[in-house]
C-alpha cells in the first residue's frame, strides 16, 4: 500500500487582513485525488482554520478556482497527477481579485464588470408573447453559441495581464458575454452593448495576448469574442461618422 503512505509536498497561501505567507503541509497521496480534495484534506485533518471556497465539485459552478503551481484552474476538476511538479503543489488564491482570507477571493469586482459590460439580456418581448422561432444554424446564433458555455469562474480574468495592469479593464469573461448578447437575435440592446464595450476599459483595452483562451477550462476563446466587438465598435464608429 505505498499509495497510501506516500505524501505530497503542498504549499498553501495563508493570509488575513495583515499579510500572508505560504505554509507547508504533507498530504497523503491517493489514486483519485483532485486539488480540491487536497485543500479539503488539509482543512479537515491538519488545519481547521484554512479558508477556501467550493460548491458543485464537478466544474459547473465556478466557485473553486485557484492558482495551482502558478496557473489558474478549477481545483475540483484538476487531478493532482496532471499538475504536480516534482512532488510539489503550490496553491494560492485566484489572481487579479481581492483576497478575503487564505484561498478565498472576493468575486464581486468580476461580476460588477460583467454588468458594466452590459452582460445582461435586454428584452424586446414579454412572457405573454410566443417563443421566437430562431434558426439554430444562422450565423448570429452560431456565433453566440460559441461563447455561451461560460460558467463565470473568473479563470480567464485571473490569467489576463491586461486586467493586472489596468484595473478598469472589464476583462475577457464580461466582454465574451457582451459578444454573445450582441449576436443574440432576441436581444434589444445592441447599441447599449456597443456603447458599454467601447468605453474606457472596454474591448480596446485587450492586447490580444490570448491567455484567456489558453486558460479557459471550457475551451472558449474570449479573445476571439473581443475581436468581434472591436470590429463592430469600429464599424459603428464609421457608420455614425457617415451619418
Amino acid at each position: 500500500m505505498t499509495s497510501t503512505t506516500k505524501t505530497l509536498d503542498v504549499s498553501v497561501w495563508r493570509s488575513n487582513d495583515t499579510g500572508g505567507a505560504y505554509q507547508a503541509f504533507a498530504v497523503p497521496a491517493q489514486e483519485s485525488q483532485t486539488i480540491l480534495d487536497v485543500v479539503a484534506w488539509i482543512q479537515q485533518n491538519e488545519d481547521p482554520t484554512l479558508a477556501y471556497r467550493f460548491a458543485c465539485r464537478v466544474g459547473m459552478c465556478g466557485s473553486c478556482a485557484m492558482m495551482v503551481n502558478g496557473k489558474p484552474r478549477w481545483t475540483c476538476r484538476t487531478h493532482v497527477q496532471k499538475v504536480i511538479s516534482g512532488n510539489k503543489i503550490e496553491i494560492a488564491p485566484l489572481r487579479n481579485l481581492p483576497v478575503i482570507k487564505d484561498l478565498a477571493t472576493d468575486m464581486d469586482p468580476f461580476f460588477d464588470k460583467w454588468i458594466k459590460a452590459e452582460g445582461v439580456f435586454h428584452p424586446s418581448k414579454t412572457r405573454n408573447d410566443a417563443i421566437e422561432q430562431i434558426d439554430p444554424t444562422s450565423h448570429e446564433r452560431t456565433e453566440a453559441d460559441i461563447g455561451i458555455e461560460c460558467i463565470n469562474c473568473s479563470i480567464c480574468y485571473a490569467a489576463c495581464d491586461a486586467v493586472s495592469s489596468n484595473s478598469d479593464y472589464l476583462g475577457p469573461a464580461a466582454l465574451n458575454r457582451a459578444w454573445t448578447l450582441f449576436n443574440d437575435a432576441k436581444d434589444g440592446g445592441k447599441q447599449t452593448i456597443l456603447d458599454a464595450v467601447s468605453a474606457n476599459g472596454g474591448c480596446h483595452s485587450c492586447h490580444s495576448m490570448g491567455s484567456c483562451a489558453e486558460a479557459c477550462p471550457n475551451e472558449l476563446n474570449p479573445m476571439a469574442s473581443i475581436a468581434g466587438l472591436k470590429r463592430e465598435t469600429a464599424k459603428a464608429f464609421f457608420t455614425r461618422r457617415k451619418a
Binding site: A21, E31, S32, Q44, R127, I151, N152
Partner: protein, 612 residues
C-alpha cells in the same frame, strides 16, 4: 500570523477555556449583533430565490429587497446543476392536463394536486419568461421552434433544454438580471434561525452568520421567502455537494412548522464511485448513459439488471437503484463497493461524441468512460419532502413563504426528471408576486422575540465552548448510518437502529469543539453547523419513514413492499413536539382527480412518445 495558526494543543485548550469564561461571564458575543431592516428578504439564490427577487421587484417596485445566500450569488444552488432540462407542455400535442397526469402518476398519487396543477400550468408562462425576458436560449429544432425531448416517466416530448447544461443557462441569465437591479446582496451569509415575534404569531426576521467576518446579523423583514434548497447529503453517497445541508428544513422544524413527505429521498442510480477521500464520489453520471444502451456490470463483470426488472438498465431510477443496492449486498461489488457502468460496446468514439461533457469530466478525474469501466453507486439526489405550504407559497407562520426544494407537496413520493427546475422557478416567481402583494398591507416591521434570538446564537456558539476536535469523522459516521439503515431499501428494524445511531451521533456532536481563534471564514465552524442541520433532518426522515408502512415512489420498505390502497393514500406530517417529534398521517385530498381516473379526454392516446 501564519505561525500562530499552527498552535499547540495545550495553548489551544487554555484559549478555549478563557474564551468560554469570556462568553459566559461577559456575554460580550451575545450582545454583538448587527441589526438590519428590509421589506422582502429572500434566502437562497437558486432558481426559486432569483425568480422571487425579480417578481418581488415587479410586484412591489418601491420595496427594499434583500437576497441572502450561504455561498456566492447564483453559484451554490442546485438549479445550476440541472442537466436534463425543464418540463413544459409546449410540445406537439402536449397539454397542461397531460403534464399534470404524468406528475400525479409519477408521484404515486401523493402530490398535493393544486400545487402540481399550478406547477404544470405556470411552467408554460415561466419558460416564455425565461426566453423572452430573462434571455435564456433553449435548444431549437431545425425549423426554429423549441426542441422537446422525452424524459423517463412522461407521455410526451416535454423537456426543454440547453444541451445537457440547462441549469447553467437558466441561472447565469437569472443572476445577470438580479445583479443588474437594486437588490441588496448578503453573500456568504448563513441563515441559522427563523425568529418569530414575542407572541409567536408571525415571523419577525432571520438570524444569520456573516461567514466572512463571523459576526451575527439579524435582518427584520415584512415577508421572508425560504428557498434554501434541499440536498440530502446525510447519505454516504450524494449528488449535491456537502455544503448543501438542508439548513432551511432544520430551521423550519425548530420554528414549529409542519414538514410533509419527509421520508421521500430520491436516489439517482449512477453516482461516480472513486473512494471516500474524494469529493468526486457521488456526483451524477447522467441518466442518458443507460438510455443509450450503457450496461451495468457487477464485480464479476456480469450484467445483473435483468435479474430485477424486464427493462434491465432502462428501468426507472428507483428500480435501478434498488437493483444495484441488492447486488452490492450480495457482495457482487466492484473494488470500491459499487458496480460498473460500461459503455465501450457502443464504440468509444461514439460515446465520446455523444456524451462529450461526461466523458471529459470523467477523464479529468482519471476515468475512461468511453472505453473502460467506471465504478458507480446509487446516490442521494433530491428531496421531495419539505415545509407544508399552499399553492401561493404561504405557510402556517405569517410572514414566512417557502418555495423550491424546501417546500413539500408538488412531487409527492417521486419527482419526474425535469420537474425540479420547473417547480423551483414557478414557485419562486409565485412567492415574489405574493410577497409583493402581501407587504402592501403591512405598515411596520415586527419586533423579534429576543429570547429566541439569544437561544439561536447560543446554539451556534456551542462548538466554541468545547475542546476542538475533527468534525469530519463524525459526518462519515452519520452518512454511513443513514445509507445503511435509512437508505435505498428500508426495514423497521434497520430504521430503529438508524434512529439510535443518528441520535448518538447528534449527542456526540454537542461535545465536539471548533477552534475559535478566528470566526472569519471559519469553515470548520460551518462544518459543525452543517452537521447539526443534517442530524436534525436525518431524525425526521427516519421517523417519517417508520410511519409510512407501505412502499411508494422513492420510499421502499422491504417489510411493507406493497404500495397500499391508492384511494386511502396518506402523506406524513412531522412537527417538533417538545424535545421529540410528532409524526402523523394525513389523507391525500384528490381535489382534481381520483386514483383510477384521468382528466384527459377519452380520445387522448396513452402516450405521445414514439416507441424506440
Amino acid at each position: 500570523m501564519v505561525a500562530e495558526a499552527k498552535d499547540t494543543g495545550g495553548r489551544r485548550g487554555w484559549r478555549v477555556g478563557a474564551y468560554l469564561r469570556h462568553v459566559l461571564f461577559t456575554g460580550d458575543m451575545i450582545m454583538k449583533i448587527e441589526r438590519h431592516d428590509t421589506d422582502i428578504l429572500i434566502l437562497g439564490t437558486g432558481g426559486a430565490g432569483l425568480f422571487a427577487a425579480l417578481h418581488a421587484q415587479q410586484s412591489a417596485p418601491d420595496a427594499k429587497i434583500t437576497i441572502a445566500v450561504k455561498g456566492l450569488l447564483g453559484k451554490c444552488g442546485c438549479t445550476r446543476m440541472v442537466q436534463g432540462g425543464y418540463n413544459v407542455a409546449l410540445g406537439t400535442g402536449d397539454t397542461v392536463e397531460r403534464h399534470f397526469m404524468d406528475t400525479i402518476k409519477g408521484g404515486k398519487w401523493l402530490p398535493d394536486q393544486d400545487m402540481a396543477w399550478k406547477l404544470c400550468e405556470q411552467a408554460v408562462v415561466r419558460v416564455r419568461e425565461l426566453e423572452n425576458e430573462v434571455g435564456c436560449f433553449f435548444d431549437r429544432n431545425a425549423d426554429g421552434s423549441l426542441h422537446h425531448k422525452a424524459f423517463a416517466g412522461q407521455t410526451a416530448d416535454r423537456t426543454v433544454h440547453k444541451g445537457d447544461l440547462t441549469g447553467i443557462e437558466i441561472i447565469n441569465r437569472l443572476m445577470e438580471q438580479v445583479l443588474s437591479r437594486p437588490v441588496e446582496r448578503l453573500q456568504e451569509h448563513r441563515a441559522i434561525g427563523l425568529i418569530p415575534t414575542k407572541d409567536g404569531a408571525a415571523l419577525s426576521g432571520v438570524l444569520f452568520i456573516d461567514m466572512r467576518t463571523g459576526d451575527f446579523r439579524f435582518v427584520r423583514a415584512k415577508a421572508v421567502l425560504m428557498a434554501t434548497g434541499g440536498g440530502p447529503t446525510m447519505y454516504k453517497y450524494h449528488t449535491p455537494s456537502g455544503d448543501k445541508t438542508m439548513d432551511g428544513l432544520a430551521m423550519a422544524l425548530r420554528a414549529g412548522l409542519p414538514l410533509r413527505d419527509m421520508e421521500m429521498v430520491q436516489f439517482h442510480p449512477t453516482g461516480l464511485l472513486a473512494g471516500d477521500h474524494t469529493k468526486m464520489t457521488g456526483t451524477v453520471l447522467e441518466e442518458g448513459l443507460r438510455g443509450a444502451g450503457g450496461q451495468l456490470l457487477n464485480g464479476a463483470d456480469n450484467r445483473f439488471m435483468f435479474d430485477y426488472d424486464a427493462k434491465g438498465e432502462r428501468a426507472t431510477r428507483d428500480v435501478v437503484s434498488r437493483g444495484i443496492f441488492a447486488e452490492m449486498r450480495k457482495n457482487n461489488a466492484s473494488p470500491n463497493g459499487g458496480v460498473y457502468i460500461s459503455m465501450a460496446h457502443l464504440g468509444p468514439e461514439n460515446v465520446a461524441k455523444k456524451f462529450k461533457g461526461m466523458v471529459k469530466r470523467c477523464a479529468d478525474s482519471g476515468f475512461d468512460l468511453a472505453g473502460g469501466k467506471v465504478e458507480v453507486v446509487p446516490t442521494a439526489h433530491y428531496f421531495m419532502g419539505g415545509v407544508v405550504v399552499d399553492a401561493e407559497t404561504r405557510t402556517a407562520m405569517e410572514g414566512l413563504y417557502v418555495a423550491g426544494e424546501d417546500a413539500g407537496g408538488a412531487h409527492g413520493s417521486n419527482r419526474l426528471g425535469g420537474n425540479g427546475v420547473a417547480n423551483s422557478t414557478v414557485y419562486g416567481g409565485v412567492a415574489g408576486d405574493v410577497m409583493g402583494k402581501d407587504i402592501a398591507g403591512i405598515s411596520a416591521l415586527r419586533d423579534p422575540d429576543e429570547a429566541v434570538l439569544e437561544a439561536e446564537i447560543a446554539r451556534a456558539l456551542v462548538p466554541f465552548a468545547q475542546m476542538p476536535a475533527h468534525i469530519h469523522p463524525l459526518r462519515k459516521e452519520l452518512m454511513d448510518a443513514m445509507w445503511e439503515d435509512v437508505g435505498v431499501m428500508r426495514t423497521a428494524t434497520g430504521m430503529q437502529r438508524g434512529l439510535k445511531r443518528v441520535q448518538e451521533i447528534g449527542a456526540e456532536l454537542m461535545g465536539l469543539g471548533v477552534d475559535g481563534t478566528t470566526r472569519a471564514f471559519n469553515l470548520t465552524w460551518h462544518d459543525w453547523l452543517n452537521m447539526r442541520s443534517l442530524c436534525d433532518v436525518s431524525t425526521v426522515i427516519t421517523e417519517a419513514a417508520l410511519a409510512r408502512e407501505n412502499s411508494r415512489g422513492a420510499h421502499f420498505r422491504e417489510d411493507f413492499p406493497e404500495e397500499g390502497a391508492l384511494e386511502t393514500s396518506y402523506f406524513t406530517v412531522a412537527k417538533q413536539a417538545g424535545d421529540g417529534l410528532d409524526v402523523t398521517r394525513e389523507p391525500v385530498q384528490f381535489t382534481i382527480v381520483k386514483p383510477g381516473e384521468t382528466i384527459l379526454p377519452d380520445s387522448e392516446p396513452e402516450t405521445l412518445v414514439a416507441e424506440e
